[in-house]
């Protein structure tokens, strides 16, 4: 399990497979483990870079203020340290808001971009949802069933929660994964970052081909936020300088569409990024 020094902290990372680079940007709770079910399939097509952001999982967790700028600057430093000039970026949940921020700040480092379950700006409902996560994490702990009840009910579809992979096993599993990957102070900073986020003004800076993905039953980051927010559909409509862009709705899926409907979710991501890779290769061939 390699680690590398980035901006003064040790960052855990893992490379799997061969092909164009694909960086997985994790969400607010379970770090790189959120991609555990996805990485093997992706590694058949790409060279997948999984990592734990500062404050998460096996990376260092210094006491400090965590922001999207801190994490985005770590991402570019990680790419520098690994000698990666350009990479596909797939962000899910908070990883997608971070991915959008990263893509706007460092557009030249992005090959193809996938934003899954993404919020550019939180409406009042989303702000309340993240406030509740903070309350539960602070008073019961990040490894508590109480927090996991909230995370499961907002991340997974009702069908998933009632199915063979849902129920109390999912709650206990998420509590354990969350407990070992993040502490309450970092999760609270992450929630504040999500409450305060507003990348609507930066969307025009994103130049990479971009795929926006959202589950049709997502109650945390739905395609349409309320009027004071900006959800996936808003993002798609405002990517005015993306080389090209696509919008995919994953059926029968909640926020965590990678787990709710992995088949369709993986297929649209692989299909999109493969086309981006082929386009680049053929452009290189012409040049």
């Amino acid at each position: 399990m390699p680690k590398i020094a980035v901006n003064g902290v040790q960052i855990f990372y893992q490379l799997t497979g061969e092909g164009d680079y694909l960086m997985h940007v994790p969400g607010a709770v379970v770090a790189h483990e959120g991609y555990a079910a996805v990485t093997p399939g992706m590694a058949e097509h790409f060279k997948v870079l999984d990592f734990d952001p500062r404050g998460y999982g096996e990376s260092d967790r210094p006491k400090q203020r965590y922001t999207f700028d801190v994490w985005a600057d770590d991402m570019v430093a990680l790419l520098d340290a690994l000698g990666i000039e350009r990479t596909h970026v797939h962000g899910g949940s908070m990883g997608s808001s971070l991915g959008a921020h990263f893509a706007a700040k460092y557009p030249s480092r992005i090959h193809g971009l996938v934003l899954s379950g993404c919020t550019a700006k939180s409406d009042f409902m989303s702000k309340l949802q993240f406030e509740i996560w903070k309350h539960l994490a602070t008073s019961y702990g990040t490894g508590s069933l109480e927090l996991a009840y909230a995370l499961c009910s907002e991340s997974f579809s009702r069908r998933f929660n009632d199915g063979p992979n849902g129920g109390m096993d999912a709650v206990r599993g998420l509590a354990a994964t969350s407990g070992r990957n993040v502490d309450a102070d970092v999760l609270c900073d992450a929630c504040d970052a999500l409450i305060e986020i507003d990348v609507t003004g930066e969307l025009a800076k994103i130049t990479a081909p971009t795929l926006v993905v959202v589950g049709d039953g997502d109650v945390l980051t739905p395609a349409d936020q309320g009027p004071t927010g900006a959800g996936g559909r808003y993002i798609y409509e405002h990517l005015v300088n993306a080389e090209f862009k696509e919008f995919a709705v994953i059926e029968n899926a909640g926020h965590a569409n990678l787990m709710d409907n992995p088949e369709q979710s993986n297929r649209v991501v692989i299909d999109f990024l493969t086309r981006v890779s082929e386009r680049t290769a053929s452009a290189r061939g012409r040049a």
Binding site: D123, M125, L128, H135, E146, S153, N161, D162, V171
Partner: protein, 272 residues
């Protein structure tokens, strides 16, 4: 404003207007105040009976185990005391859970039945929501902003929360209607009662014309629960001759978000 002894407990009630009787059953947090916007309109057409169920508002709040059966039996006792043989019944949110329990247990007492935002059986997602309610209430109390925040995320739609009545004033309003009306020990039981309820085997006993109302954006008691639950559509399919009515754009609290249209629908249905 009066009280009457029902099954050993002082129950607060109020009757407004003239006409056929309608009893309105409150939800898990705000007692009869949940119908504050509804009663004046309803009272132009009906004799409206508002009351606080046991454990809520101005009624007694004994230390005991609270269940849907106890609340349904109290409603029957209240009707007996008031000499009301048969009445229209309107229940919203947990009041809907109580109404459906009442209608399966005492079908002969129900003239017409209106259920809004309830379930015949909670799915696992519902259970998670109620577990979070319990956790937040236990740690922060019934008069906390934290609980009011959580309740707002389940009671209202995104669009409404972003609108002129939403935002921090919605949280404040929720806190102010919860704090005086609900006690912690009762609320915890209410959450468990909603988690454990299952009236699916008894739905065929409902013999009254029934209107089922749900907001299209309801996240708590949506049109369709997961496969382990039984939501509004399930009830529609299993209550003979029932009518399903969807308030487009509204969340769980459709009597607030879509007040005028919802009340008009209730009046139309009960007047038929």
């Amino acid at each position: 404003m009066a009280k009457v002894k029902v099954n050993g407990c002082d129950i607060w009630y109020e009757i407004s207007g003239e006409g056929a009787p309608v009893v309105q059953i409150g939800g898990a947090v705000s007692g009869h105040e949940g119908y504050a916007l509804v009663t004046p309109e309803m009272a132009k057409h009906f004799s409206v009976l508002d009351y606080d169920h046991r454990g809520y508002g101005l009624s007694d709040r004994p230390k005991q185990k609270y269940t849907m059966d106890i609340w349904a039996d109290d409603l029957k006792g209240l009707l007996d005391e008031l000499g009301i043989q048969k009445t229209h019944v309107h229940g919203g949110s947990m009041g809907g859970y109580i109404a459906i329990k009442f209608a399966t247990k005492y079908p002969e007492r129900v003239d017409r039945l209106v259920i809004n935002g309830a379930a015949a059986k909670s799915d696992f997602t519902c259970r998670c929501h109620f577990e979070v309610w319990k956790a937040v209430a236990l740690k922060y109390g019934m008069d906390s902003d934290e609980l009011a925040q959580e309740l707002c995320t389940k009671a209202f739609s995104r669009a409404w929360l972003d609108g002129p009545q939403g935002g921090e004033q919605a949280v404040k309003g929720m806190r102010e209607s919860t704090a005086p009306n609900a006690s912690l020990h009762v609320f915890l039981d209410a959450c468990d009662a909603m988690i454990e309820t299952d009236v699916t085997p008894q739905l065929s006993r409902v013999s009254s014309p029934t209107l089922l109302m749900v907001g299209s954006e309801d996240l708590l008691t949506p049109l369709d629960q997961g496969p382990q639950g039984a939501g509004m559509r399930y009830m529609h399919e299993h209550i003979k001759g029932s009518e399903l009515w969807i308030a487009e754009g509204a969340g769980h609290g459709l009597l607030v978000e879509s007040a005028q249209k919802s009340v008009e629908k209730v009046i139309d249905f009960l007047s038929a």
